[in-house]
Symmetry: C2
Amino acid sequence: MKILLHPDKADIHLSSVLYALSDPVRLSIISEVRKAGECTCGNIEVPVVKSTLSHHARTLREAGVVKVRVQGTQRFLSLRTDDLEERFPGLLASVLDAYDTSDEKITLSHLE
Amino acid sequence: MKILLHPDKADIHLSSVLYALSDPVRLSIISEVRKAGECTCGNIEVPVVKSTLSHHARTLREAGVVKVRVQGTQRFLSLRTDDLEERFPGLLASVLDAYDTSDEKITLSHLE
DNA sequence: TTAATAGTTCGATTGTTGTCGAACAATAGA
DNA sequence: TCTATTGTTCGACAACAATCGAACTATTAA
């Protein structure tokens, strides 16, 4: 089984996290992950093909935003809430709250 | 005199703001602006030439992060603290606090 | 063993970004 | 009017990123 690299908490960098969060598709992903607590790539509804989704999941993982747990053929994503809170207090919550109350949310209707 | 375009408060978008904040040079700029309250491009110490600095200032302005006030040949930058707080409560403060307590700060020593 | 499922990786394409230097514009001061 | 000073714009370049489809890997189920 392949090892998925996650940065240590101390190696999570502000600019990388902000960059990872600056893409509408990735904002949508982490918003869904927060709601579900944990979810597989297949359960995330975003208007991109799965190779693109995989790329975004990797970006989020490598930036330290999400943790990916492997179980069988599935990968469960969850937010690194505690690590992020410790490194950047309040940041993740303010981003997620802002996203959920914004009109920037993307949905499958973007495919039409 | 040229008119500098600033987005209306309602047109400030989360992903654009996060993107604008995801560059180390731009983080350094807004950190200096916060400390000074208002400052000109010339007073900002970043390890880039002035055309690059001008480009970053424009990115921050167009994202809605800073306001630029023209006085003579100088442009005074200030943070759009109130607008950002209203749109994305807590976001700017958490980013600036995280930056100032991080070890990611860039200085002129990066030129050496 | 075969087939289905869940994701990843790769190559290609298209577009964006950060950077610089040179040229330009606008203002202030002598 | 001449000359600094301050900053913008432009062109070029190299690096990077978002996207897709196709091929691939790994696991589970039949």
